[in-house]
Subunit: 200 residues, 2 copies
């Protein structure tokens, strides 16, 4: 079972510049604007710092990487990039099960789920929202996992589409019995699908 | 290959009552209100007729069944209920492939796809919209196919979730290369998944 605590969103370092009441918050506000305008791929730490009127070193100080800024700016409940090592390590023939358990555990927590559903809803109806999410998932998450595992992008995306569809069918459409099925039943149903996409 | 022309939305019979300029349109307006208020399951032809101020026989005349009213009221590009016999007939070991081809062919047509995406977007952000769609798909579509094939509801819903996720990943998130992959590649990738849910 994946330990969700290990991949929780890094809150950023607590240190504040003297006199800067909410520099971190100002960086995040600027980052949301920059990500919306440029998408994830074209946004840079330097550009976000410029938009916030701070030194790029300060953005690195608070968030370390562009991924880190994005995760905090979008208030993602977990950092998918930090979760990658937990998913890809361990027996290769159980990766489908690890991935399904990770997604089900994360979306099983109401606060995390609500945040994810809010992002999906925004992306569904907002062109900028969908561009940001697409680029973040394609580059920072699926691209990296695929590269680690040697899995072609289309197979990573097929696996992603299955898990996206399950989350939507359970928590947005609320189909029953899928919506209230327990983790073990869903792992039995879905893990072989994900396993085949990733290693089949 | 499924012939999409056979499952196109029945336009309703063209006949008009003398003096009733757009009775059919008035029934559909009333039906949208009734489906939104009551959901698909609790709505009745009688209730829709009452809301439209017409005789129930007239609703039957134009749309035959409650499914038919729903398909016309929601402007679904094809009637999923009419498509069921095409999907379930033929060799059982190829049902995954038939179902994947049907969904890909339908969503490959821009006008049909736009209508489906519009419905999904509405459902994502609108509680009444999601209730209508859930009940229609669960009862009228997935429930009937499952009953025909002897497949438990949760397995039907897992198959639905894979196809929902693919349509969203391709046409709303526009992930590449999934978004522009051709039908044969997608059938090779997805048909075994659907086949396993339905007969595995």
């Amino acid at each position: 079972m994946t330990d969700m605590a290990e991949v929780r969103r890094r809150p950023g370092r607590p240190g504040r510049r003297p006199g800067a009441a909410d520099t971190r918050g100002e960086i995040l506000t600027a980052a949301r604007r920059v990500f919306a305008e440029k998408g994830f791929d074209k946004a840079t730490i330097r550009g976000i710092a410029r938009a916030a009127g701070v030194d790029p070193a300060l953005v690195h100080h608070y968030f370390e990487t562009k991924d880190g800024v994005f995760v905090a700016a979008m208030r993602l409940p977990v950092d998918p990039v930090a979760a990658i090592p937990l998913i890809v390590s361990g027996p290769r023939e159980e990766i489908g099960e690890r991935l399904v358990r990770f997604i089900l555990t994360m979306t099983g927590e109401p606060a995390a789920r609500e945040r994810i559903l809010a992002l999906l809803r925004t992306a569904m109806v907002n062109e900028q929202g969908v561009t940001m999410l697409r680029e973040f998932f394609a580059s920072a998450v699926l691209g990296r996992v695929g590269a680690e595992l040697g899995v072609p992008p289309i197979r990573m995306q097929a696996a992603f589409s299955q898990m996206l569809g399950v989350v939507m069918a359970r928590y947005i459409m609320r189909l029953e019995p899928l919506g209230s099925a327990d983790t073990e039943e869903l792992v039995g149903l879905l893990a072989p699908t994900i396993q085949r996409y990733l290693t089949g």
